[in-house]
Symmetry: D4
Subunit: 248 residues, 8 copies
């Protein structure tokens, strides 16, 4: 039962064709969403220009292409994550206007480049091996309409590099920090700035890194109070939340 | 060497008493902070009215009282976390103007009640057992100058209670969600709103909850993209970051 | 807005006082539950005679008493779990008709003893140390209106005891099996019967039992296909589901 | 010694050829099962029409074919799980009447389609990536003689989709819920219905999902009392138990 | 139905009072153990003089006393493990002839001191903190009728002490080795001797010993082929198996 | 310095060429093993006919062949474990008299088939998937000179199969039990017999079996006192210790 | 057989009373250490002035006092670790010259204060809660004859404090760094200096710190190459190794 | 702003062109490192002749070659770790003077072979499977200018081999010990010598070795006080720290 049906029911109530008790009974048996009563949302602005997002992993190249094509009919921007090179090639061949980023496995259709964020977002990583995750965050942040400042390779074991970037860091409104191994960078960055820091543990490392667990635990135990954490290698999630914050 | 010493050195340079090479050499041997070169901070506004925070755990009642008294000389607001009842009693007896909250173990001196946040922060918890952690978040959010809307006991197993609060949730600019056991509430809330959600796993549960590990893992794997996570039982951290975001 | 309000609104529609568009708009802004549209439930029978359940842990004795008293106004049966002896004493002193079971920490008000289950539920445990958890299951099963057959101390290391109970086991419609240490009993029982088996790992054991983890993992990996598992020490949950199944 | 031998022995006792003491001694040395004394089973109905089940993993295609061919001599229905495409092709080529389902890796011979379940079983999954596990459950439920209602992609982060399916869910007699990542769906479903819910954690996710551990822990800690859990990715087990319950 | 009943049934068969079919039917419905068909056991010698064993933990002092008193009616030797000092005192006060060992928490009634083992059992521990576990093993070994040679404090970090005991070690027929921390001693002992070594990890240690997990894992990965392992702190189990082996 | 050197030194002492103090000093500086002082070993019998053992994993086929050829010069029997088919083929091609067992990956040279064990060793496994590990145990037990009785597929979920084998089990002097998944079989076997049981967890299973961890923990927590445990999939180790025990 | 016995044996060889073959045979049967052949040690200097060390935990106050008294007869310096206040009081009352440090639980007898280290050892900690562990390291370092520079409270979240101490850090020959929570400080310190850094994870933290596991993993994964790690809370061990290095 | 800019600013101060307050203000806004103020380093000697180190893993062969070529312009020695054979071949083909070590995956350019260490470093491993990790340590130690003594295959299960190497071990100034499985060798070596021992757990083993976790935990819990630990398989790190210590 959609709004038209509701209107028609009410018209029958008005005209006396349908009894009030009957009308109530009929309404009781309807799932409320079918009434078209949309979720109240006072922050609709937050969602303007939001890209559609597709997870390529676990889908065939044809499925990804088909989904992307359909989404692009209504949405200017589409972000496809975790696509292997074959998928990247297939999709960008088949649908014009896309770009494939092999490091991070992202395919991006970025047609509406309006800036919607109110400040700059810094995307930082500790080592060169963390760049794929940082790139996923960066591509997300950009496609969601933000200026981004990417700073690579400023791990805590070379603290002078970090200090040299203090000013750039302090100019950001939100910072995404990607780090593997001991995952110490978010604490160090968090101590240098006053803004929110979103920490992304990466699965970089070996042995007792346990595929990112060491970094994850480190970040959750950060002694800097302005740090929150997302899942291991979840560059997209960090970029997404950073973008939400930057639109506030 | 403080700024005065730097000034005096430069004056000696000007007057020719000290050679330029000698001046450079002297400066080279100084730790740079002693020069009084403060960290550049473009977001100083973020820090106006920030409370001082003290962790009571591991300190004697006398130590907590002494630290609090000293901090209150320069800071309007002081938040003391993880204080047991004895400590709460001792500190509020000795220093006027404080209030002790036995559930969360917080002592709060809240003298400057200026609102600095730009919107409302919702602090939500899944079950009544999660209230202590939610209260720590709430008290933090308040003392940092925010309007707060607290909503208790809307766990996912009673999804109607959650749905009934949709509108209140959607009026918040940031939401802190505390949940133990399976930690599913942040995903459900995250799916209902467009704003950032900060998830706090609590150690509530038994058996395979492993003191909050189940909730923590659940939240890190949230299928809602607007969720970030802090440490188990870290109500303060969640409230702190929520406040930072709400000042942006 | 409750059903009366809805009726009144519809009457205004009928009388022409309220325009149809206005009526739709008003309805859109109401949380649907407030309309009194109850959840459709084709299995309402499942819920007749359901006891109210209270978790005593983390509540004061006064709180438990107050909640129990209030619940007993509308509900014949109330089950209070994880109550320590003091709480057990306080509640049974203050509210007549309750019984405290110190082994399992259950307080039970069992006023409506109608049998609602269609068969017998067996509650089995591997060793005497598992009895507290088995008792929690048994008390739950009883208060939910089931005949129960309790069989203690038939661990797999004494397989003859288990074999001697084959007939009793095969007469049950559902079986709850509580076991700590290696948690092997549910597999052995599951292999002997055709009915559903609900396995409850207990925290009984030491060293590499890791507080029930060994038993939990064992049960999840059961080679018997009719076994499902609940949380460590969750006798209540197992009894609850067994009762639901027995009402089907 | 089968029943005939027992009869012959008793006849020799009757005729006096064998002494009573000798008879007792002979019987003592026999494994009791060889006497043909079947396990007493009051729920034999539960087992009518049960399919034979084969785990393909770890067997050669020839072995799987041979086993299936032999089983099909006595059993109408055979279910082969965890078969890779090659195996699926080989078996269905060699034995007529089978169907291979590549998503879940199931080969099914479904010759007796009698409905034996007393109601409908719903098989639900949270995301499209969970469909392979849900399909394994669905195929099991069908081959065991049940009507099944499959509902895909109603994860908790899109709670409106879940709410829209309330009625379908409440019409089920048992529900199987498959979910990876945070594994929150069983709690949400469990809160909406009164019937037993069997939760299947899937290994879907990355990073801190630890191959299904996060979902497993979440489900074990469910705050909904009607939820029990099976092993990670064990769609077959969940379908099997659901079918047993539905026959009760 | 005991053997007498079986005899009587067979007599009725012989006399023609009971029909053969009826006799078979009656036998079918009996649990086979009730026929008195004891388990065949070719190693009965292994069990002569076996002590009865009681786990005190989780029982009241009265329960332990009562069980011990009853067991002592039929059994010469009784071993009670994990008894706290109060229990030790209560039991030895109430039942004459017992001895309490406070280090290991064992109460021992050792009335039949016949030597039944064919050789000597060595009980070895790595550090003085491991002595309680070693003592539990030693008391078990003794009460089961073995000569025992106890060697304390020969950890691998002082390898000369170990080497000095080579001869004593090589005179043992079985060796029990208790060690906490890194649990390396069983490998070193195992390399020095040709006999079976039973390794007992102890919970001695701190930090990354994780309550005996480090020692347990170390022993399971022993590079000496003659090492098997029991649960953490399970001195009794190691002593029990060593005694079984020594009786062979 | 070998025994000849020692003899020569003593001769110089006797002849007076070397002073006693000088002789003592020289001896002090020698590593004692170089003196040829073999380890005292009262159980030398244990080592007669011991096969040489080679771990193929991590070595090239050439290395394995070369090592095996060299060992076969002095040793009648050689056991090579964890060899892949290529290695198995290469070695048996190059050195006559060897046999390759593809299931377990063992290459065996078994030239001296003297029986040295005093009884029979049973090698038991729970499911057909555990056979490779059981075969490794069996081949080890045989090559070490024991009669072996192998019993497959008697898991606890089909307890009747287990009961049917009681007599065979009770005829063994030592039993090796291999089981994956929940690892419950050793407890059940241990309860049926009086002899030592050596439990081998296998990595068979999926999901929460965590590559054999569930089975390992289950076995370590066995409620049967005659069970000890070896590493996951360590069929060789279990067979080796069983053989040692059987020679005692 | 001590050196005198060896001398006497050689004299018998010289005098012809004992045959050379007999002498060799006798020597073969002696454990070599009994010959008094001390371990060759080219670094004896490393051990001059080493304190004796006693672990108080698990010993009675009387035992600790007795051991300490005996050790002090031959050793100038004695360090007793993990002593609770009662033990500290008892020992220092009974034996003059000792000092008890309640924070770290150390009792120290420091009578020989010779400096034996070649440089300065820095003992650094991240937060005030880490001071007990740092104090244990400091007291160890001092009693082993080293100059020590203690620097507290320079965690990575306040990186300016760390930078201010660069010069002091760079003057150390070895650095011990104690940190809990995320354990990031050793990496940051390691990046600032060229000397060896010994990292001590502390059990400080809550929730996902898992009693020091997070810090331990962080340190093991340090991206600074000059960092090695000791056990959680093992201040003594770190101080001991730092002292060894400083004597080189 | 580099030193020249600082000089020019100071010259402007001297000449009066720039006011002192202005100069201070300008300096305040500069990141201090840009001033060219190098980190104070009193142990610069430690860094003479340090090789440049490149991690090949995660880089293309071209990238590795390019980086190596550039580094070799300024540095005599370059060490490339974790290079697969293809990479090893590509780099050594393209850049003359390099050597590839396939076991450890190291490529080494060792042009400056000055000995800078003050003593010998022993690199020890427990089994032949640990040699790749030991080789990485050895190659690091050599390229950093140390004499190295490598001792393979002296695991604790063959303690005589270890004892035979006592003297060689005691001649080392630092010892690196690599061991997998139970990881017991560092404790045994640590007990034999007085010098610092750096333990490297290797991922060698199977089952409950959990990819080196067992060895890692064992080493962290070493009962020898002179042992510190690095990450699993981190032969490079151990060799690096050993070299630092040997330069002191």
């Amino acid at each position: 039962m959609d709004p038209d049906q509701l209107r028609s029911l009410l018209e029958q109530v008005r005209s006396g064709v349908v009894d009030i008790d009957v009308a109530i009974a009929r309404m009781r048996h309807l799932p409320f969403e079918d009434l078209g009563f949309a979720k109240v949302d006072h922050h609709r602005a937050l969602r303007h220009g939001m890209p559609e997002v597709v997870l390529a992993k676990g889908k065939t190249n044809e499925q990804v292409s088909a989904i992307a094509a359909r989404l692009l009919e209504n949405s200017s921007n589409v972000l496809i994550t975790r696509a292997d090179p074959e998928c990247g090639h297939a999709v960008t061949q088949q649908i014009p206007g896309g770009e494939y980023f092999p490091l991070s496995g992202v395919i991006r259709f970025w047609r509406d480049r309006t800036i919607r964020g109110r400040g700059k977002i810094a995307v930082v990583c500790a080592g060169t091996s963390d760049i794929p995750v940082a790139e996923e965050a960066q591509l997300t942040v950009e496609v969601m309409g933000n200026e981004v400042d990417t700073i690579h390779d400023i791990g805590v074991a070379g603290i002078h590099r970090l200090m040299q970037n203090r000013e750039r860091l302090s100019e950001a409104r939100v910072i995404v920090v990607c780090a593997g191994m001991e995952g110490a960078l978010p604490s160090a960055v968090g101590g240098l700035v006053s803004c929110p820091v979103i920490a992304v543990p990466t699965s970089i490392g070996y042995g007792a890194s346990f595929h990112g667990l060491a970094a994850l635990l480190g970040m959750l135990n950060s002694c800097a109070s302005n740090v929150t954490v997302v899942n291991i290698d979840n560059g997209f999630g960090a970029g997404y939340v950073a973008s939400l914050i930057n639109r506030l």
